[in-house]
């Protein structure tokens, strides 16, 4: 009995490498056929590994901490759709633009954006932020004003703190009235790095 069961378990000529390759081909094909509601890639950058995700509408998430993506993927799955697949080929365009930006060869991003992870005032603040050009600064008050409520400075700060698409929606260009840098979800050292890259900080 045991000998035969051991054979049944052991004698399956399938390797984990083949299974991984088959799974990668599956994910690429499913994304090409439009079956992935959220396609993502893990992209190395000077600021660590980034999780970059897009829907059919556009770029929806760009997150620091791509070394540990599980909780972020779970959030995308719950908020958008559980049809989440790793399909780096679908993100070639944004990956190339990020490379160029970090290499100093690009000053603005040309990708459609899916704003569906933000709402109302927050979304208006982020959309105003998306228009602040490379190498320039604006204040939290400016963004609150553009979003329609000049007194909601603190709320504008919170909105920027909840930005799902940093770098491309350049919340690092927004500082306090008076010139202090303010905060940054990815850590202040990343804000400084980006502002140095853009020639604003020395």
């Amino acid at each position: 009995m045991n000998e035969l069961e051991k054979m049944l378990r052991g004698d399956v000529p399938a390797s984990p490498d083949e299974a991984r390759a088959a799974a990668e081909r599956f994910a690429a094909r499913a994304a090409d056929e439009g079956l992935a509601d959220v396609a993502y890639a893990l992209v190395d950058s000077p600021l660590g590994r980034l999780l970059v995700a897009q829907t059919k509408r556009g770029l929806v998430e760009l997150a620091y901490g791509g070394e540990e993506p599980d909780s972020m993927l779970a959030e995308l799955s719950e908020k958008l759709s559980p049809r989440v697949l790793e399909a780096p080929g679908k993100l070639d365009d944004v990956r190339r633009q990020l490379d160029e930006y970090f290499g100093g060869r690009r000053t603005d991003f040309d990708v459609p954006i899916d704003w569906s992870l933000s709402r109302g005032f927050t979304q208006r603040v982020l959309q105003a932020t998306a228009k602040v050009p490379f190498g320039q600064l604006a204040t939290y008050r400016d963004m609150a004003t553009k979003a329609g409520n000049e007194r909601a400075v603190r709320a504008a700060g919170n909105a920027l703190g909840s930005n799902h698409i940093p770098i491309v929606v350049p919340c690092h260009r927004i500082i306090r009235t008076g010139g202090a840098l303010g905060g940054y979800t990815g850590g202040l050292e990343r804000k400084e790095y980006l502002l140095q890259l853009e020639g604003v900080l020395l």
């Binding site: 009995m1 004698d11 081909r25 079956l35 959220v38 559980p82 697949l85």
Partner: protein, 154 residues
């Protein structure tokens, strides 16, 4: 708990499903059956209930795809070199499994039980779920299949 992102599900089930299909349809056709299985799973995925038994579920799909493949194969004439080797070869020089090739001689219900239990390595509770029977019935089917397989192999 909500169902996990599909990629997480794929990462945790791909080895089991691939092994199951290699044992079921053989190494040459396992890849196609694997693709069909996960495409079907992806289409149905958002409608799954939280706390579903994902492994038993995807193996049921894989099993169905394997049956489709067998039916399609029966309908079309086979080129000579694709005929299954008979008698069952003693060794497996072409990457085919001797014991799983022999298992093709068993009645379908017994063979299924073996595949879920040993190729997919499911506990009996999951074998029962995949076969749609009680755990006790699953145990019986497996032990009957092992007995018969030993006869086939002799």
């Amino acid at each position: 708990m909500a169902i996990p992102p599909f990629q997480t599900f794929l990462d945790s089930e791909r080895d089991t499903v691939f092994r199951f299909l290699v044992a079921t349809v053989g190494p040459d056709e396992a890849e196609d059956a694997f693709q069909e299985t996960f495409i079907s799973a992806l289409r149905a995925y958002p409608r799954l209930k939280p706390n579903s038994n994902l492994r038993a579920w995807v193996l049921t799909i894989a099993h169905r795809k394997a049956l489709d493949l067998f039916r399609a194969r029966k309908r079309r004439p086979l080129p000579v070199e694709e005929l299954p080797e008979q008698p069952v070869p003693a060794a497996s020089p072409n990457g085919r499994s001797e014991v799983w090739t022999a298992a093709r001689e068993l009645p379908a219900r017994q063979r299924e039980a073996l595949l879920f239990r040993f190729a997919a390595d499911l506990p009996y509770s999951d074998v029962a779920e995949a076969l749609g029977c009680t755990e006790e019935a699953a145990r019986q089917r497996v032990s009957e299949a092992v007995r018969n397989l030993r006869k086939v192999m002799q």
